[in-house]
């Protein structure tokens, strides 16, 4: 009797009560939707959400089969491939260059001011940034066409032509240096042991040589992180495209996320939309896994 009481007393319920709110919230708004989207991806689920008036029947993998012979779906993945590769390229190069420059400033105050200057534009809401870029590209009153007019050149519709629209979207945010990636790189550079650079300098290495031999290789964890975040970000993000082109002209800037959104909320084909979502999840998991394998960082925290 005595020992049973002891065991009972030993269990402290406080931590369970403390984690209860988040577990309940996640059950409703994360786990249930996740399970539902995987299950419903094998359903023809369309029309209304109401089971009585809408269609809701199990069809196995038919949604997936249909998607893989769907030209729009395939084109949207090709477009994503473009955005992933170009996005990774700019995020690996430009913020890192800028970080090297800011890091090379020895005066602590000046260096801090530069960091603030490049982070400050982040206070502009992303919707405003999208709309401003749309205006910059605008074919009638836009900034670029005003400049071209000054130079006596003819108008260009960068967002309106299939050949240029993807590049125009990529160049939104040019020169891609502001924001968190810059801070990540600077944090990485600051964590490199300075005696290494000192040794290189004494050995007569040029600044460029020091960057190539020390800064770049030792920033590997930061590169890996930026790589992962950019890939996942580019696969997921469709709001920017929805705002500036709605996937057009034609389907030349369609991406899977946008296709999923339209499939669900314009065509009311929820089951197929879930199937698109699941393919995106699978791709993202595979890519993260591959990056982790390729860039094994020994001292990852």
């Amino acid at each position: 009797m005595e020992s049973r009481k002891n065991i009972f007393k030993k269990v402290n319920f406080a931590p369970y009560i403390m984690i209860l709110p988040i577990m309940v919230l996640l059950a409703i708004f994360a786990f249930y939707p996740l399970a539902l989207s995987i299950i419903k991806s094998t359903y023809r689920w369309s029309g209304t959400f109401d089971n009585d008036t809408g269609i809701n029947t199990f069809i196995g993998f038919k949604n997936y089969v249909e998607l893989f012979s769907d030209k729009i779906f395939l084109e949207s993945w090709l477009n994503t491939l473009f955005f992933v590769f170009t996005g990774v390229a700019v995020n690996l190069v430009f913020p890192f260059l800028c970080a090297l420059l800011i890091f090379s400033i020895k005066n602590e105050k000046t260096s801090y001011r530069w960091r603030v200057a490049f982070v400050a534009p982040m206070v502009v809401p992303s919707m405003v940034v999208f709309l401003l870029w749309q205006f910059i590209y605008d074919v009638d009153v836009g900034v670029i066409n005003n400049v071209l007019k000054l130079l006596n050149l003819s108008k260009v519709d960068l967002l309106g032509r299939p050949e240029s629209v993807k590049w125009a979207i990529r160049f939104m945010g040019f020169p891609w240096v502001g924001g968190t990636f810059l801070l990540v790189y600077i944090a990485g550079l600051s964590s490199i042991d300075n005696s290494l650079r000192e040794a290189a300098r004494i050995d007569g290495a040029s600044p460029l040589r020091t960057i190539l031999a020390i800064d770049i290789p030792l920033s590997k964890p930061q590169f890996k992180m930026v790589l992962t975040l950019s890939v996942i970000g580019e696969i997921q993000d469709f709001v920017k495209i929805q705002t500036v082109t709605e996937g057009g002209p034609g389907y030349s800037s369609y991406v899977p996320g946008l296709y999923m959104y339209k499939m669900a909320f314009d065509s009311n084909e929820y089951g197929k939309a879930c199937a698109i979502g699941v393919t995106m999840l699978i791709v993202m998991l595979l890519v993260s896994f591959a990056i982790n394998k390729l860039f094994k960082t020994e001292s990852a925290d």
């Binding site: 994360a30 200057a117 870029w133 990540v184 996320g257 999923m260």
Partner: protein, 277 residues
């Protein structure tokens, strides 16, 4: 010889500054476009968009204010409430995981953390269904509750890491004093984790403030729409005065700008912390 090196060094400093200034100018082109064009009448806008047109037209700001302010207010309220809620949940849950040893601890923690891997796009459709089914569609709860769920995950991770590094002895004294677990959390835990809670709240605020897709899906009435939706509608209106639109963009940027300037140091640190962890 020595002066030669100095000159070389100064040269490279000048070059660094020049390149940085160049980068910075390019970065703020959209901001510049926004400011310059916010002072224009529709006719001035047709004339040129690259530089100020005189006389400056201030009426845009008054027009934009009337139009945009309700949305700004909606965004501010939902952001503040969500941020406070997320921070509280992250503090409580992160503290529980960092401070206690309990059965199933690792399992529950994994269950929470695994959500970081699940893209929000994937669950967009079913989450929308949930919101409709439980009857919170087109209310602020349709934003708040999912934000509390998915927005707290990162914070929980950060708080747990922070609490684990605290010396246990700080809490031992409290146990002897005979206060219960929750009093211990409120009176001893919270003051100790204040710094990390600042980070959590800043990251939460940024996410909620900038969210576009979710509010677009679950909010329908103008009375509760947030600022991105308001701006989008304003932008799509045919014949809208573009100058007022730019003024509206600026007004929409001001709340976060003020917050940023008031919390500069912690803002910068939070961004790094949020990205690196």
């Amino acid at each position: 010889m020595k002066s030669n090196i100095k000159i070389k060094k100064r040269k490279s400093n000048v070059l660094t500054t020049v390149v940085l200034v160049f980068f910075f100018i390019l970065t703020i082109i959209p901001v510049y476009v926004m400011i310059v064009n916010s002072f224009k009448t529709p006719n001035q806008l047709l004339d040129n968009v690259l530089w100020f047109s005189f006389p400056l037209y201030f009426q845009n700001y008054a027009d934009a204010f009337n139009r945009i302010f309700p949305y700004i207010w909606n965004s501010v309220t939902i952001s503040v409430v969500s941020t406070v809620g997320i921070t509280m949940i992250a503090a409580l849950t992160g503290y529980a995981f960092g401070h206690y040893d309990f059965k199933g601890k690792n399992f529950f923690f994994m269950l929470i953390i695994v959500n970081m891997m699940i893209p929000s796009v994937l669950t967009l459709v079913p989450s929308y269904l949930v919101v409709v089914k439980i009857g919170i569609y087109n209310t602020q709860f349709a934003l708040l509750l999912p934000y509390l769920a998915t927005g707290s995950i990162m914070g929980i991770y950060l708080v747990r890491g922070f609490v684990e590094q605290l010396p246990k002895t700080v809490f031992e004294a409290a146990k002897i004093d005979g206060i219960n677990d929750f009093q211990c959390f409120v009176h001893i835990g919270i003051p100790l984790i204040k710094t990390i809670l600042t980070t959590v709240s800043i990251l939460a605020l940024l996410n909620v403030w900038n969210d576009i897709v979710w509010p677009m899906l679950v909010l329908d009435s103008d009375k509760i729409k947030t600022i991105p939706l308001g701006l989008l509608e304003f932008n799509q209106q045919q014949g809208a005065n573009k100058g007022a639109l730019f003024a509206g963009y600026i007004l929409a940027s001001i709340p976060l700008l003020i917050y940023f300037m008031l919390n500069l140091r912690s803002f910068m640190e939070s961004l790094v912390e949020g990205a690196i962890k």
